[in-house]
C-alpha cells in the first residue's frame, strides 16, 4: 500500500505519480489521505491500480478514468467520473451534479444519492445509484445503463437515445421522448448483473425500465415553427 498525503504533497505530485504507473506495476494499491474536497483527484488514470480516497472530494474526481478502481470513502463533488472510459469508481457517500457525465465505459457506483444531471450524455458507462437521482438525469443519454435504486427527479431521460434506465422507486416526471418500457427477461438479466456489480441487494423485479420512444430521431415537420 502506497500512501499519498494530498495536503502535504500536492495535487500535481499525486496525479503525476498515479499517471506514472505502468500497466504491469507492482504498486497496485494506493491510498490518498487529506483530500479535503480538493479538485481533480485521481484524474486521467490509465493503469489497473486501486486508489482509495480517505474522505470527500471536490470537482472532477476520477475524470477520464481508464482501468483503475477509484474508491471515494466520502462524498464527491460535481463531475465525478466524468468521461470515464473503463474501470470502476465507487462513492460511499453522495455525488453532486453530473456524476458520470459523458462516460464511455466502466462502472460508477454511488452508494448515497446523486444529484441533478447524473449520467448526462452517457455514452456507454454503467451507473448504479443506491439512493435517488436529481432532475435531468440521463439527459441525452446515448448508451449504457443507469440504475436508480431510489427515486428519480424531474425530466428523467430527456431527449434520450439508446441508454437503458432502470428505476426502483418513483419517477417525478419523464423528459421528452422518454417512456416506460416492458421489462423482458433479458433486461432482468442485465439488471441483475448491474446490481451485483454495484453491490446492491435490490431485486431486479422491483424495477421499471425506461428508454427512448425514438420519436425525436428523425426530423418531424410538425415540430418546426
Amino acid at each position: 500500500m502506497q500512501t499519498i498525503d494530498l495536503e502535504a504533497q500536492g495535487l500535481r505530485h499525486l496525479n503525476a505519480t498515479l499517471h506514472a504507473q505502468a500497466q504491469e506495476t507492482n504498486q497496485t494499491s494506493w491510498e490518498i489521505v487529506n483530500p479535503r474536497g480538493s479538485h481533480a483527484i485521481a484524474c486521467g488514470l490509465d493503469a489497473p491500480i486501486e486508489v482509495a480516497v480517505k474522505g470527500s472530494t471536490g470537482y472532477y474526481c476520477a475524470g477520464m478514468n481508464k482501468q483503475a478502481t477509484v474508491h471515494v470513502q466520502g462524498s464527491a463533488g460535481p463531475g465525478v467520473a466524468e468521461n470515464m472510459m473503463s474501470g470502476t469508481v465507487i462513492i460511499d457517500g453522495d455525488a453532486s451534479q453530473y456524476a458520470g457525465a459523458t462516460g464511455h465505459g466502466g462502472t460508477l457506483v454511488v452508494k448515497g444519492n446523486a444529484s441533478s444531471r447524473c449520467g448526462i450524455s452517457m455514452k456507454g458507462i454503467d451507473i448504479v445509484v443506491h439512493g435517488n437521482v436529481g432532475h435531468m438525469s440521463a439527459f441525452m443519454a446515448q448508451s449504457g445503463n443507469l440504475v436508480v435504486c431510489g427515486n428519480a427527479g424531474d425530466a428523467l431521460g430527456d431527449s434520450i437515445y439508446e441508454a437503458r434506465l432502470f428505476v426502483r422507486g418513483s419517477v417525478k416526471s419523464l423528459g421528452a421522448d422518454c417512456i416506460e418500457k416492458e421489462m423482458r427477461p433479458e433486461h432482468l438479466e442485465i439488471l441483475a448483473d448491474l446490481l451485483e456489480r454495484g453491490g446492491s441487494d435490490a431485486k431486479p423485479e422491483e424495477f421499471k425500465r425506461y428508454g427512448s420512444a425514438r420519436k425525436l430521431y428523425n426530423f418531424n415537420i410538425d415540430n418546426a415553427y
Binding site: G37, G58, D94, Q97
Partner: protein, 298 residues
C-alpha cells in the same frame, strides 16, 4: 462563478470564533472569486442603538469628524469605530433615517454598506485574504455571518458591486449566478418606491426580498416567491437579524453544500469551504435541493 460561505451558530460558545471560522471558509473560496470579497457579521446588539456601516476610498478625510458632525446635527450621541476604509457609526435606532440624510448632505465621500441593529458589512475589491485582513474579520464575534468572493459578470468590479447587499435593516444577500430579468424587476421595484443603489443584478434580488418582507412576508415566504419572480441562475444565501436562509433556482447549476450539527448550520459553494469546521466529520452534509427554501431562526 463566485464563492459563498455562511455560518449560522446554534451554540453560543462558538460566537467568539465566528469571525475566525468565517474568514477561513472565505479564503478557501478565493479561486471562485478573486476580484472582490465581502462579509456580513451579525454581532452584538445594544438596546435602542443601531449600526450604520459606511465606506470611503478616502477614509482619512471622509471619516474625520464624522461622528461629531452627526451628533451635532441630530443632537444625539454617536460613536464611531474605524476599520481601514469602513466606519461603523452607532446611534439611536430612530435616528438612522435622519443620519443617512445628514451623511448625504455632508458631501463627504462615504457610501452606506449596511444598516441595522446588529449587522456590519465589510466589502472591498481585492483578494479575500487581504480584504478579511484589512477589517480584522477573524477577531469578530457574532451569532451568524455570510461571506462572498466575487468573480464579476453583471456589473463592474467596484466596492459597491461587491456582495453582500444590504437593502433593509439587518438584511443581507449574497448571490452566485446571474439574473436575466433584473432590469425589468428594478423598474418595477423603483415604481414601488424601493431604492436600488447600483446596476448590479444581485442587489435587485436583495431589494426584492426586502420589499416582500416589508409587505409582511416571512424570510421563508419571500424566498419562496423569489422562485416565481426571479429569472436566471442563482444560489442565494440571505441573513436577517435572527435568521439565515438558502435557496437555489430550479436548474441548480450553481453549486451548494450544507452541513448541520448541534452547534451550527454552515453553507459553502464547495465542500472545501467546510473542511475545517468543528465536528464536520460527523455533521449531516447535504446538497440543498433545487427550488427548495431552507431557513433557520434563532
Amino acid at each position: 462563478m463566485c464563492g459563498i460561505v455562511g455560518l449560522f451558530l446554534k451554540d453560543k460558545t462558538l460566537e467568539p470564533q465566528l469571525g475566525h471560522m468565517l474568514t477561513d471558509m472565505l479564503i478557501t473560496m478565493t479561486d471562485r472569486g478573486p476580484d472582490s470579497a465581502g462579509i456580513a457579521v451579525y454581532g452584538d446588539t445594544s438596546d435602542g442603538l443601531a449600526k450604520l456601516t459606511v465606506q470611503s476610498d478616502q477614509p482619512d478625510t471622509a471619516f474625520d469628524g464624522i461622528a461629531d458632525h452627526l451628533a451635532k446635527t441630530l443632537d444625539v450621541k454617536v460613536t464611531v469605530s474605524i476599520k481601514d476604509t469602513h466606519a461603523v457609526l452607532e446611534l439611536p435606532t430612530d435616528q438612522i433615517a435622519d443620519a443617512r440624510i445628514a451623511l448625504a448632505k455632508m458631501d463627504h465621500d462615504v457610501r452606506v454598506m449596511s444598516v441595522g441593529d446588529v449587522i456590519e458589512i465589510y466589502k472591498e475589491v481585492g483578494l479575500p485574504k487581504d480584504v478579511a485582513a484589512r477589517f480584522n474579520i477573524s477577531d469578530m464575534t457574532g451569532s451568524h455571518g455570510i461571506g462572498h468572493t466575487r468573480m464579476a459578470t453583471e456589473s463592474a468590479v467596484t466596492t459597491m458591486g461587491a456582495h453582500p447587499f444590504n437593502t433593509g435593516s439587518d438584511q443581507c444577500l449574497v448571490h452566485n449566478g446571474s439574473l436575466s430579468n433584473h432590469n425589468s424587476l428594478r423598474r418595477k421595484l423603483t415604481r414601488e418606491g424601493v431604492h436600488i443603489e447600483t446596476e448590479n443584478d444581485s442587489e435587485v434580488a436583495a431589494a426584492y426580498l426586502t420589499w416582500k418582507m416589508q409587505k409582511g412576508a416571512s424570510l421563508g415566504e419571500a424566498l419562496q416567491s423569489s422562485l416565481n419572480d426571479l429569472d436566471g441562475f442563482f444560489t442565494f444565501v440571505v441573513g436577517t437579524k435572527d435568521g439565515f436562509g438558502v435557496v437555489r433556482d430550479p436548474i441548480a447549476c450553481k453549486p451548494a453544500v450544507m452541513a448541520e450539527t448541534d452547534q451550527y448550520v454552515a453553507f459553502g459553494s464547495e465542500y472545501r469551504a467546510l473542511v475545517n469546521l468543528p465536528g464536520i466529520e460527523d455533521a449531516r452534509v447535504w446538497e440543498p435541493e433545487p427550488a427548495t427554501v431552507y431557513f433557520w431562526n434563532h
